[in-house]
Amino acid sequence: MRPADSGEILVEGQPVRIASPSQAIEAGIGYVPEDRRRHGVVPEMPITANTSLASLKAVSRWGWIDRTAECSLAEQYVTQLCVKTPSVHVATAMLSGGNQQKVALARWLATAPKVLILDEPTQGVDVGAKAEIHRLIAELAERGMAIIMISSELPEILGMSGRIAVMHAGAIGGILPRSEATQQKILGLALGHTPVSELARIEE
């Protein structure tokens, strides 16, 4: 994690200081990383342990894990996210890519975040699981969770987003509301050589 160069982070209007992932979790921010295998699930661990990993405090007392609570937490998310698995005690490595991604999601949903950052949430995921993950994201947003989805797939971006911030060369090139967003505008901002205003002129 790189320290912030500038700016501030507000969660529900309150400024928060974040120097480590554990502080982010406490501030109510969840992050589902892009590279599932490297940063997401711990493949040797069963679904139960992967689900509770970021919320161990919630399922344990004085550092002692309550196995029953942990199991029911995992079962709750396996049901909610339709994870296809014979049991919650299966090693996560045994699941398909899409189901592993759902377990990674479950870990962060279990922390009950106010802000959830999803980094390429449907990369390397089969079509069926992709649709399910999209449906889930929409549901969470509906229930009031703030979701920041990072994606390089234009159809996904256009289909899911309320506001679209387009990055170019490490900075935000522009922010488009859903109503104004088109593939052309997003690509123009991403490539950085056509500001929106100029793009509009070209279209005329």
């Binding site: 992932p21 590279d35 711990v42 493949p43 040797e44 661990m45 990993l53 550092g63 005690h89 090693a91």
Partner: protein
């Protein structure tokens, strides 16, 4: 932790097979004296192996335990001779071990020096430092209460077995039921994922090394109490014995999988096999070769499990990052 109990079963099977051969060929192996001697000789190995299991599970390695063992043993003797009550001298030696372990762990966790380098340096520095300080002399003329730590010679083995067994059980329980145990597995399996999940990976690493050092100190004290003198070259090669037992017991050398039941069985197998060869009339030179063979089989079987994709995440990690819109 997850992949069933195959490794433990095969090690247990090997122990049973060895016992069957010995029962037929050399029943004297099971004499009370021989068994008691073997148990006593391997208790320090087991105690240190408990700590080493935690270190290896967390994805690190500590090869300085042999040298630390010698330093702690000599320290306990010197403290006792200086008039410190024996229990206090023992505790001081454990604390000394904890401090040395914390130094290793601190360098590995906070300065990110690879633990093999840190503990190699510690291994050499402690060993040679001790040689220089003692001039190679043994600690003799220990106070009367030192031998058997004030217990009788007959009750001491029971005490030692209780302590070692209790520690192994406690550590096994902790690994399975404590958040800290979960953290050790997570750090060893996928350190970045563990960190991103809010686990204090550095504190976890510091803790396992500190615990490993403290247990090494305890093992040194329990072992020294069996003799009337403390050799300044104690524990030579002990780290290899311990690591071998842990690896044979199924704990992956790359971290993240394994556990203490396997370690206990590994200590039993490797501890039983040396004397067994003597009893079977095999040339003692074969002992190391056979131990080496067992370790090789253990490592190869773990490695083939990794290739099948059942464990280890970093092996798949070289996927290039996609570009972003």
């Amino acid at each position: 932790m997850i992949q069933g109990r195959n490794r433990e079963l095969s090690v247990a099977g090997a122990i049973v097979a060895l016992c069957l051969v010995l029962a037929v060929q050399a029943p004297r192996y099971f004499s009370r004296e021989n068994l008691a001697e073997m148990v006593l000789a391997n208790i320090p190995v087991l105690i240190i192996a408990v700590g080493t299991t935690l270190v290896i599970l967390s994805g690190h390695i500590d090869i300085s335990v042999g040298s630390m063992f010698a330093v702690c043993a000599v320290a306990a003797g010197v403290f006792a001779k200086a008039g410190m009550p024996v229990p206090l001298a023992g505790l001081a030696a454990c604390a000394g071990g904890a401090v040395l372990g914390a130094l290793n762990g601190g360098l590995a966790a906070y300065l990110r020096v690879p633990s093999i380098v840190v503990t190699l340096a510690a291994m050499v520095a402690l060993r040679d430092g001790l040689r220089w300080t003692t001039g190679g002399a043994w600690v003799a003329d220990l106070p009367a209460g030192f031998q058997w730590l004030g217990f009788s010679q007959s009750s001491y083995p029971a005490l030692a077995v209780l302590v070692a067994g209790g520690l192994a059980l406690a550590a096994a329980w902790g690994l399975a039921n404590l958040a800290a145990g979960r953290a050790i597995y997570a750090v060893g399996s996928n350190q970045e994922a563990a960190w991103l999940a809010g686990i204090d990976t550095r504190l976890t690493i510091l803790s396992v090394f500190t615990l490993s050092g403290a247990l090494t100190g305890l093992a040194a004290v329990l072992n020294s109490a069996r003799f009337s003198q403390i050799p300044s070259n104690a524990g030579l090669g002990l780290e290899m014995k311990v690591i071998a037992a842990v690896v044979v017991g199924g704990t992956a050398i790359t971290g993240g999988t394994g556990g203490l039941l396997g370690t206990v069985l590994g200590v039993v197998l490797l501890g039983a096999i040396g004397p067994a060869l003597t009893f079977l009339g095999v040339n003692a030179y074969w002992e190391k070769a056979i131990q080496g063979g067992i370790i090789l089989v253990a490592v190869v079987s773990s490695a083939s499990r990794v290739r099948l994709g059942l464990s280890g995440s970093r092996k798949h990690a070289s996927r290039p990052a996609p570009s972003r819109a």
